[in-house]
């Protein structure tokens, strides 16, 4: 029997689920859907990017998603945070997002936790199959990643600054299957007439088991050896450093000040970049912009879905969206 066992639960799809998820089951198969149906997700940071991830994950039909956020909804959030209503400004972001999130799919358990992630013990993360962290400081990211590693929880991080964004994955040792299609030539000489023999080809799909070992977030933070088109990596470093130092991301009111440029200068100097990333620093990087949240949040959610369903190769390990070229590139950094 193809019943799926995860955390001791046997999950069978109901007819209602089969109907609702019909189009995606036709893409990723019944098995993947059943694995999704068992997955418990922790989403940290209900900003515009978080709202996109939440939407996609809830629509996909996971078992549960918990919104962890101790921040209040701000005017700036409304540039992209479509789950929270305008009149909830000043209220907790996770709580403000609950109602609309739940409406997206009543079959998914949506829970809210308004504590700070810093108040959560390492054991807390054990309750989930996947943790996805956004709007966290470097210190927080490293710590959450460590806690997830320790407990065998799949760790993701992602953020959007204006039109720029990234996603990162540390899945520890990740096992998955991949379909491999081969084309095979077969001779068929029918009725013993070689002249009429036709060369036939058939394609055979086989499922192959694979495994990838990931590295933690901190190991990608000091890379000198970047591939071509890797410049947005430096922008990521600048913005994470900025957040670490200021406790928040660059604000629209700071657009014409030097605070971001100062942080950029440090990186430009360190990596001897000259004017290579000046055009990226000039992008709109203040507050999250909805279409970019959709792009980066879409990539992030698809990686979570892929990971949970243990089908297809996940991106190892950094995805960067270049707002200037619209390139979306995967960088494999920090490998020993």
């Amino acid at each position: 029997m193809m019943t799926e066992e995860m955390d001791g639960n046997i999950i069978e799809l109901t007819d209602a689920e089969a109907e609702l998820y019909d189009r995606q089951i036709r893409l990723w198969g019944l098995e993947s859907q059943k694995r999704l149906r068992a997955a418990k997700i922790l989403l940290i940071g209900l900003n515009g990017f978080g709202a996109e991830v939440a939407k996609n994950i809830i629509l996909a039909g996971v078992k549960s998603i918990t919104f962890l956020d101790n921040r209040e909804l701000s005017q700036l959030d409304l540039c992209a945070q479509f789950l929270a209503p305008k009149n909830a400004i000043g209220k907790n972001r996770a709580e403000a997002s609950l109602e609309r999130a739940q409406t997206l799919n009543p079959m998914v358990e949506v829970a809210v936790d308004t504590e700070s992630v810093d108040d959560k013990p390492d054991k807390f993360f054990e309750n989930f199959d996947v943790v996805c962290a956004s709007e966290c400081s470097l210190t927080q990211l490293k710590r959450i990643n460590r806690a997830c590693r320790k407990n065998g929880v799949k760790f993701f991080a992602g953020d959007v600054w204006g039109t720029f964004g990234y996603t990162f994955a540390d899945l520890g040792k990740h096992d998955f299957v991949e379909d491999v299609v081969q084309s095979k030539k077969i001779q068929s000489s029918e009725a013993g007439e070689p002249a009429l023999a036709k060369v036939k080809f058939e394609t055979i799909t086989t499922t192959v088991k694979k495994s990838i070992t990931f590295v933690p977030f901190e190991t990608i933070l000091d890379t000198c050896d970047l591939p071509r088109d890797g410049e947005p990596y430096y922008l990521l470093k600048i913005l994470l450093n900025y957040r670490e130092k200021h406790g928040h991301d660059p604000l629209p009111s700071e657009r014409d000040t030097d605070s971001l440029k100062k942080e950029a200068a440090v990186i430009i100097d360190k990596y001897k970049l000259g004017d290579k990333i000046d055009h990226l620093i000039c992008e709109n990087l203040y507050a999250q912009i909805s279409p970019v949240c959709a792009i980066v949040g879409g990539v992030m959610a698809q990686e979570i879905i892929k990971t949970v369903s243990q089908k297809q190769s996940p991106h190892n390990n950094l995805f960067l969206f270049n707002p200037d070229t619209m390139c979306g590139k995967i960088l494999c950094l920090g490998q020993k």
Partner: protein
């Protein structure tokens, strides 16, 4: 909202967003996402149009809709939900088709830009023409499964939607469907035809009985078998299937015995057919096998009826049940209106049951692998799977393109492709190097659009010219056609004006080799010059296409009769001609290459043999193509998909422009059965199901094909 807070967007963009007026065509998978991005960004004036209503299977991705909205207008509900996100935006919605005359050039001219979020080719073609006619920038987008693409269409600057050849839909020769099926899809197509014969609109091209005009069976057709005369169409003469079924009171046993016993006996009498094939085995209603043939992994899953493989006995009872309810429904409709009939719908339980049961019974008879109802639904309904994430990513890029258009930076709107796996440069989102330039021979966006049309002027009627060529193939909505230099009106869009011409053969109106026709579509503001070339109709209908169209008349001459099938040798690697039984090589094939090998093959339903692939690969490389230049464009929901290939970029050819041979179209349209009515080709109507490169997850079994 980004545009209402100073400093979020740079001032130019902020002002442009606040001042703009935009149109979104389609409120489906991509449309919902685009609308969300627009209202959150702070666009102030948005119009959205969609003729569709909400279905349960939309809810997994069209997130502006919820369960209580099923059955309601997509455009209206999308507006309602988006207004909750941002109550300050003005959204005008239309629950209507964009192809009606209410939305003419003056309508389109109201907008700064138009964003397409459509699921069918016909509407895309139309909006393309309207935006060209209005000179308004259009952002075209599409997704299929994990993949998608976004491109700018701007008159004079970029390719238009019709600059490149879209792969033709797959069709199957009548005799394969009626006499010698060899794949599950043949049985599924047959079952859908049978549905229409019994309950739907009767179409002579959808006959399901043995085809005695099958050239392969010519010598022995029906000899010594049933004493039936066949008419010139090869159909066994008798009362229509419908009339016969009705007179028998839709008796399941009688119908079964006729379809799956008597007709099969008749086929068996056509000896020639079975010399090199496994002969079919007729079934007896009272003695149906109840084991599940080829019972393998597909047979588990007790929970879901759709996923389970049915035994033939079970198919028999589903057959009987579905006939009972369908005939009842038909009778009820005909009580109200005698000429009424049912329309096949993959989401109608009985209609889908009927096709699944019949397809499996026929597959069993011919020794073809049977499928579960879930898979048959994919194939019969031509469902292209769609997911939220892909739509979200593509819609995000659409709106970023919109920003650039508003800033008048159109050159930055290079096409972007979303891949299911990173390419060899590790790119998941792959932008083109520059905007693709227009095809100078495009029969839509060229300064004076023209085509050469090869057809048999002694056979084709005016009505056929209008329906199959002008409307279905050339996508006109209401054409007016005149013979150039003679002032003779052949077709008028004014009702009743040229009705008398409908049944007349072209030649009777003086249309012959060399005749030049002027075809106009007033709504699309589109004029096309058509040069007629006489070409003899095929001896057997469906053997070769009824007509051919090319931008360059030379394309129609040498290859046509003899060597067409040998070499897909146009400069852009496109296949211009195919034999329906042979390898169908289309440009969707992402050639297996390094890390992409797996995906590229997986998404094909038909994979060309390696040697052909290699040849094609070389062709492409010589033109500087890369594997990521090719992508599938969507039809977000459940429609056929269109295939794009990057056109030849100008830099590659500036030295030798003569080598840049654009193939506007030399597509083969095998016969009329795919050229139905002039309507958007929605999945339900498109009886033949595949576009090549379709991602419909045909179960990963074995697909066979033959190389030349």
């Amino acid at each position: 909202m980004a545009a209402s807070i100073s400093g979020v967007l740079d001032t130019d963009l902020q002002n442009a967003v606040l001042r703009s007026k935009v149109l979104v065509v389609g409120a489906g998978g991509i449309g919902c996402e685009v609308l969300k991005n627009l209202v959150m960004t702070g666009f102030t004036d948005i119009e959205i149009i969609d003729l569709d209503t909400i279905d349960v299977s939309n809810l997994n991705r069209q997130f502006l809709f919820h369960k209580q909205h099923v059955g309601k207008s997509k455009a209206a509900v999308a507006r309602e939900t988006a207004l909750k996100f941002n109550p300050d935006v003005k959204i005008t919605h239309y629950h209507d088709s964009i192809t009606t005359s209410d939305y003419g050039v003056s309508f389109f001219k109201k907008f700064n830009l138009v964003m397409n979020a459509l699921d069918n080719r016909a509407a895309r073609n139309h909006v393309n023409r309207m935006c060209l006619a209005s000179d308004i920038p259009l952002i075209e987008s599409g997704t299929a499964g994990y993949e998608g693409q976004v491109e700018l269409i701007k008159k004079g600057l970029s390719q238009c939607y019709e600059c490149t050849t879209k792969a033709p839909q797959k069709t199957y020769p009548g005799c394969t469907i009626r006499n010698t099926p060899s794949e599950p899809i043949h049985c599924i197509v047959w079952a859908k035809h049978l549905f229409n014969q019994l309950f739907g609109e009767e179409d002579p091209d959808q006959d399901v009985s043995p085809d005695t005009a099958d050239p392969e069976a010519a010598d022995t057709a029906g000899e010594g078998a049933l004493q039936t005369e066949s008419n010139d169409k090869g159909n066994v003469d008798r009362v229509s299937t419908r009339t016969w079924a009705q007179s028998s009171g839709y008796d399941a046993e009688k119908l079964f015995m006729k379809l799956f016993h008597d007709d099969i006996m008749y086929l068996l009498s056509m000896d020639n057919l079975w010399k090199k094939r496994r002969p079919p085995v007729p079934l007896i209603w009272t003695d149906l096998p109840d084991g599940v043939a080829g019972c393998s992994k597909d047979t588990v899953e007790p929970g879901l009826r759709d996923q389970r493989q049915w035994s033939i006995a079970e198919c028999g009872s589903v057959f009987a049940q579905s006939i009972k309810s369908l005939s009842k429904e038909l009778a009820e409709r005909q009580k109200k209106c005698p000429s009424d009939h049912l329309i096949w719908d993959k989401d109608d339980q009985s209609a889908m049951d009927f096709v699944a049961a019949c397809a499996n019974i026929r597959a069993y008879i011919f020794g073809i692998a049977q499928k579960n109802r879930f898979d048959i639904k994919s194939m019969a309904g031509n469902i292209i799977p769609a997911i939220a994430t892909t739509n979200a990513i593509i819609a995000g890029i659409v709106v970023l393109h919109a920003f650039r258009i508003l800033l008048d930076n159109l050159k930055a709107c290079r096409s972007v492709y979303l891949r299911s796996k990173p390419n060899h440069k590790n790119l998941l989102l792959v932008p083109e190097k520059s905007v693709n330039p227009p095809n100078p021979l495009c029969y839509v966006c060229a300064p004076t659009p023209q085509v050469t049309l090869a057809l048999d002027t002694t056979k084709m009627t005016v009505k056929e010219l209008e329906e199959t060529v002008l409307k279905t193939r050339l996508n006109m909505i209401a054409p007016d056609v005149m013979i150039d230099g003679k002032g003779i009106v052949v077709i008028s869009s004014e009702e009743g004006e040229t009705e008398a011409n409908n049944g007349r053969i072209l030649e009777q109106l003086g249309i012959r080799d060399g005749t030049i026709l002027k075809a106009d579509d007033f709504l699309q503001n589109y004029s096309l010059t058509i040069t007629i070339v006489q070409r003899e109709a095929p001896a057997v209908k469906g053997q070769t296409p009824d007509f051919l169209i090319a931008a360059d008349p030379e394309d129609l001459k040498p290859k046509e009769e003899d060597d067409g099938s040998k070499e897909p040798s146009t400069s852009n690697g496109k296949v211009e001609k195919f034999d329906q039984d042979a390898v169908v090589l289309v440009e969707t094939e992402v050639t297996p290459q390094s890390s992409d090998a797996d995906v590229s093959k997986k998404r094909k339903t038909v994979t060309p043999p390696p040697d052909v692939v290699n040849k094609k690969q070389r062709t492409e490389n010589s033109n500087g193509y890369e594997d990521d230049d090719i992508c599938i464009i969507e039809d977000s929901d459940s429609d056929m998909q269109c295939i794009y290939q990057k056109s030849v970029s100008p830099t590659k050819h500036t030295n030798k422009p003569s080598e840049t041979k654009y193939e506007t179209e030399a597509q083969v349209i095998p016969n009329k059965c795919m050229l139905q009515k002039h309507k958007p080709l929605l999945d339900e109507e498109c009886l033949i199901v595949y576009d090549e490169g379709d991602e419909t997850p045909i179960p990963p079994t074995v697909k066979q094909q033959r190389a030349e």
